[in-house]
Amino acid sequence: MTIATETVYADKSGLGWAVSDVLTIARRNMLAIIRIPTALVFTILQPIMFVLLFRYVFGSGAIATNIPGGYVNYLLPGIIVQTTIFGAVGTAIGLAEDLQRGLIERFRALPMARMAVLAGRTVSDLGRNVLVLIIISLVGFAVGFRPHGGVVDYLFAVLITLLFAYCLSWGFAYIGLAAPNSEAAQAMTFPLIFPLTFVSGIFVPVSSMPGWLQGFATYQPVSEVTKAVRYLMDGSRAIPTHGNSIWVAIIWSVGLIAILGPLATAKYKKVA
């Protein structure tokens, strides 16, 4: 067989290549989200179901909050955080699948940046979260959510959510690499995401929980991030001390990635 053309390499710096590799992998992952029907349902339909469920089933008077505008204004900031955390499950599943199918093996024999597989995966999940947050915001407005903090505060809140979700996704990357297959990866994330999202201030005020749960529910990172997002979105400054929660959320995010990033990286070097 003869291939007519001579191989032509492109000219870029080392860093340029690393960025290009990360984007190549991220783009490939984004395409998968669009093409796998179950992934699309998981990504887009599920958060909408959560909004509708809590807005109309649990939210019609069953849950008491002192927030102006009622439960829907309490719920939406929480749903925004919850959705991005549920989305991180996709990080674990996607990586486990790539590993299982031998794709990572192929990547390892290519002259690409080593870290592009993990970074590309977390970046594509960040991209998916942006998409999901736009959808959730639209659905939220449609069911009566009215943020009082202004556009800048709203975007700031979204940024904090995205930052936290991105940092946390490195932990889910670790799970994906440690799991023997994608089904197990999914199963392994549940014991993590359920306490983090439901034993928190996302859906109900922590004060309504039994005393022994309140300590964890108040101070675990997802609650802290939810507090910050709510503080920026409700605009009422209902609880003044929540102003600090912005810093607490950022510190949690940076702290998590400082630990989870190297953990996932080390795991990647070991298993792939």
Partner: protein, 332 residues
């Protein structure tokens, strides 16, 4: 620059903290521009060797160079010179054939406009033009393998590693792949191929190495190995074990190799093919021993192993031990 495309010296690789020895000191010298075969059953260490040479895995000890570059010291230089395609057809199911090639081209750091041209060329060459914009999920096994091979060729590497490229394929797809591989070698590519099929090694490989439990048990040209083995296997089925015992005494000297007896079936490796079969029949007929069946066939890998090691490929093997995690995962 080294005379050899691939050179490996005394490669040892252990897994599970030394509990499993997948390779126990394997040396290879692969000349440029030909197909070199690694023949062996599951768990013999073939895939581990390919993973080491393609920089996926580091050797526990020993050194290896590919196109003159050390796989441990200069992995990036090695990766620019190799293509890897394998039995698990590692293409992305959620992308189209064209998108797969574009992704691999981009990760090989090739120029965008060049990748488009090369991808089109390869898809056409491998009969995938019509399927180029279909999701790989809809591809047949043979199409996946061809795409996998095309992906390995995007960067036009001088050296190609093919890990059991035809295992599990139907005969027609296998033929197609063989033709492609032969074409590549004509174009100057060096191919290191692993296989479980003697027929495949015989058809494609100039030289080959037989691996068993992480050790080389034979090497040479395919012709040399076949000569050592006897060209054909004559299999005779008798009606009773008594007949078989009497018969084997009569025909033993038709073959220069010891006979393999299993119940009423006697197998001999013979040089003369049909002539040897006719000779055996004449002697049995003269002694009034009737046969229930007779076949002449090409020696299989089992025959090679029986002849070289005295055990069949399945004996005393624990492939799952010698396999790495990812190999098991891939199969699951």
């Amino acid at each position: 620059m080294s005379d050899f495309a691939v050179e490996a010296n005394d490669i040892v690789r252990t897994f599970n903290d030394g509990d499993v020895q997948a390779l126990k000191g394997v040396s290879l010298h692969v000349p440029r521009g030909e197909v070199f075969g690694l023949l062996g059953p599951n768990g013999s260490g073939k895939t581990t060797m390919v993973r080491i040479l393609s920089t996926i895995l580091s050797p526990t000890s020993g050194t290896a160079t590919v196109d003159g570059f050390d796989v441990v010291k200069h992995p990036d230089k090695v990766r620019r010179r190799i293509g890897l395609a394998g039995q698990y057809a590692t293409v992305d199911e959620n992308l189209t054939g064209f998108e797969n090639l574009r992704m691999i081209g981009s990760l090989n750091h090739l120029q965008k406009s060049f990748v488009l041209i090369r991808a089109k060329e390869l898809l056409e060459e491998f009969g995938l033009t019509d399927a180029a914009h279909r999701n790989v999920k809809t591809y047949s096994g043979g199409m996946r393998r061809r795409l996998d091979l095309a992906a390995a060729l995007v960067a036009g590497p001088p050296i190609l590693f093919l890990d059991e490229p035809t295992s599990g394929l139907d005969p027609q797809s296998r033929q197609d792949l063989w033709t492609i591989i032969e074409g590549l070698v004509e174009g100057g590519t060096t191919v290191l191929l692993t296989t479980q099929y003697l027929e495949e090694a015989d058809r494609l490989c100039k030289q080959l190495v037989v691996l068993d439990k992480g050790t080389i048990i034979a090497q040479g040209t395919s012709q040399e190995l076949k000569t050592r083995l006897g060209a054909t296997v004559l299999s005779l089925s008798f009606h009773t074990t008594g007949d078989a015992a009497r018969g084997i005494e009569l025909i033993r000297d038709v073959s220069t190799k010891p006979a393999n007896v299993e119940g009423t079936v006697v197998e001999l490796t013979v040089e003369g093919g049909p002539a040897s079969a006719a000779e055996a029949l004449r002697r049995l007929d003269a002694a009034d021993i009737a046969l229930s069946g007779l076949t002449l066939r090409e020696p299989s890998l089992d025959d090679v192993f029986l002849s070289l090691t005295g055990h069949k490929t399945g004996d005393e093997l624990a492939p799952s031990d010698a396999e790495t995690r990812s190999e098991r995962r891939a199969r699951a």
